[in-house]
């Protein structure tokens, strides 16, 4: 369970260009649920995702993950939590060009010190799960949009995380690929993953699999 208590995030604090991205948000997200943060651009969805996923610290307030307060932890521990607990799907996919699909999938697991052969096998299996076995040795820039998206999903799953974070995952996909993506998320939800998505795409927040839609505007929660 993730609990967010009175969290604020201020950028450029104390400077003329000070900007409040998150303003006193309180939220409780249950394990094995599918939640969508919905709202227009600049509403604070992505910032809230980064705070939950230990990528940044709030200016004030507290976040607890499985009853463990994480806001005051040193960077090293935050990185460890990020690597073990979260799987990320970015808006731009953020695959590293010049590397193969297989290498990209293995990337998040490298610092864990797992045996290379074991890791390679698992990454290969994950790519197989998304029908990408034949493309595993292909460089990611040669892949189509849908294939790149599936590689990004496989990469998010390599460390077997309990929580999947997806930021505008369908922003660069057409309707057909967006629906396929939602199917994949559905199967992950069935496997017991907690899924948290930031999106303003109706295909996402109107999907049957979504259990909860949190609406945001100007850094605040304005409705559910």
């Amino acid at each position: 369970m993730i609990e967010i208590k009175d969290v604020r995030k201020v950028f450029n604090w104390g400077r003329p260009n000070e900007f409040v991205a998150i303003d006193g948000v309180n939220l409780c997200l249950h394990s094995q649920s599918v939640t969508v943060l919905k709202g227009p651009s600049g509403s604070g969805k992505t910032t809230l995702l980064t705070l939950i996923a230990c990528m940044a610290r709030p200016t004030s307030g507290r976040i607890t993950l499985m009853d463990r307060e994480i806001t005051s932890l040193p960077e090293r521990f935050l990185t460890e939590i990020r690597r073990r607990t979260f799987g990320f799907m970015f808006q731009q996919f953020n695959l590293i060009k010049g590397l193969t699909a297989l290498e990209n999938v293995m990337l998040p697991a490298y610092p864990a010190g797992e045996k290379h052969a074991v890791l390679e096998k698992r990454a290969g299996e994950l790519l197989g799960l998304f029908n990408l076995s034949e493309k595993s040795r292909a460089k990611v820039e040669w892949l189509s949009g849908g294939e790149a998206q599936r590689v990004a999903i496989a990469r998010a799953l390599i460390n077997n995380p309990s929580i999947i974070i997806a930021d505008e995952p369908t922003a660069h996909l057409d309707t057909k690929l967006s629906r396929e993506f939602m199917e994949i998320l559905l199967s992950l939800a069935r496997d017991g993953k907690t899924i948290l998505i930031a999106s303003h795409d109706p295909i996402v927040y109107e999907s049957d699999m979504v259990e909860r839609v949190v609406e945001m505007r100007d850094g605040k929660i304005v409705g559910e």
Partner: protein
């Protein structure tokens, strides 16, 4: 084990990363290798020459005595030998006859030496390979020498020295005493200098002091002084070449610094992705460290290998004129490979370390960015 596997994984990623920017990295390795090659060649060459000179001088007399007139080297009377022999501790004193001869036909200077124990037959000479090359004679032949009065003395080459001794003997001609005196109208009862052997090497300075006291117009020269002079001369020449190369080295460091400090937007983005995916700052630094290490170590070993081949198999054809001396007759020989751990470690610290540090510092700055930057790309 996990630590080793972690580094293996990071190194694996580093190698893939380097392969992605093949052109850029290969050109860097090429320039880097060239710089290491230049510095290592000079270092190997001067060090080997010094060692060679030391080996040759090991058999040289412990002390030479020359006579000075008006501060210039002059012929020494043989009678001085008796005075020197009287000094306690002197084992033997022998006279030497030697001089220089300029051959106008070949434009070369030869060193003529009388060594009765090795050659005493009048009308013939033994020559070094350099001399044989300059007169284009492989084994036999005759060299015309212009004597002091303008007449010619024809001396037949009896033998050419072996290549092993070429560093010292390239321009050397062994001549009989009679021919030597005839060539230069050398007066009887005089020698070019005297050589001494002593019983106890510790007494050399004392004996030298006694000689200058008994024979004030003489100058004793100790073998150690010659060794020191050779050492200084070769080090100076090596230094000279290094100074000339400094421009190249500086240009390389500017290139390396720019490459290392100027992380491209693409590289910064990648570091952001890695951090977002759960890489720690130290993991990114390790990756950058391995990247620098792979480039610099490859260039270092390649440069050392090329320099080794250049110095010991091609006799340093690039630096030969600057490092061996200014002469018409260059010794043509292969140096005995001499490399010390000190040389290698000095080269390592001069080349590998600065590059690796230059790579780490900007990477550290990039690696400390917040991982959430990747979400905002």
């Amino acid at each position: 084990m996990r630590v080793i596997e972690k580094h293996r994984n990071i190194l694996d990623f580093t190698l893939s990363s380097l392969a992605r920017r093949k052109g850029k990295n290969l050109s860097l390795v090429f320039v880097y290798t060239f710089v290491v090659f230049l510095i290592a060649s000079v270092t190997f060459f001067t060090h080997s020459l010094k060692t060679e000179a030391e080996v040759i001088l090991r058999d040289a007399p412990e002390m030479m005595v020359q006579r000075l007139v008006a501060g210039r080297h002059d012929l020494i009377p043989m009678s001085y030998m008796d005075t020197i022999r009287q000094i306690r501790g002197v084992q033997s004193v022998t006279s030497r006859l030697w001089g220089y001869y300029f051959d106008p036909t070949n434009g070369a200077n030869y060193t003529l030496l009388v060594k009765p124990e090795e050659h005493s037959t009048s009308g013939t000479i033994l020559v070094g390979r350099g001399v044989a090359r300059s007169v284009r004679s492989k084994q036999t032949g005759t060299i015309p020498f212009k004597t002091y009065d303008g007449s010619y003395l024809f001396l037949r080459i009896k033998e050419v020295f072996t290549a092993e001794s070429e560093l010292a003997n390239a321009d050397l001609i062994l001549i009989s005493e009679a021919d030597f005196k005839r060539l230069f109208a050398y007066p009887d009862g005089y020698a070019t200098d005297l050589v001494l052997h002593v019983r106890n090497a510790n007494e050399l300075p004392t004996i030298a002091t006694k000689i200058t006291h008994l024979l004030p117009d003489t100058r004793p020269i100790l073998r150690e002084e010659i060794v020191r002079t050779y050492d200084a001369v070769f080090s100076w020449r090596g230094g000279l070449v290094i100074v000339v190369l400094l421009g190249v080295v500086l240009a390389f460091f500017i290139l390396a610094w720019e490459k290392a400090t100027g992380l491209s937007a693409e590289e910064r983005r990648e570091i952001g992705i890695l951090k977002g995916l759960g890489w720690e700052t130290t993991d990114v630094l390790f990756m950058k460290f391995w990247e620098g290490a792979v480039i610099s170590l490859s260039a270092f070993f390649l440069g050392i290998l090329c320099a080794y081949g250049h110095v010991f198999f091609t006799s340093s054809m690039l630096f030969e004129p600057a490092l061996k001396g200014w002469s018409v007759i260059y010794p043509d020989f292969r140096l005995t490979p001499v490399i010390s751990a000190y040389q290698i470690s000095t080269l390592f610290f001069l080349t590998v370390l600065p590059y690796t540090v230059a790579t780490i510092v900007p990477a550290w700055r990039a690696a400390t960015v917040d991982p959430d930057t990747v979400m905002r790309a």
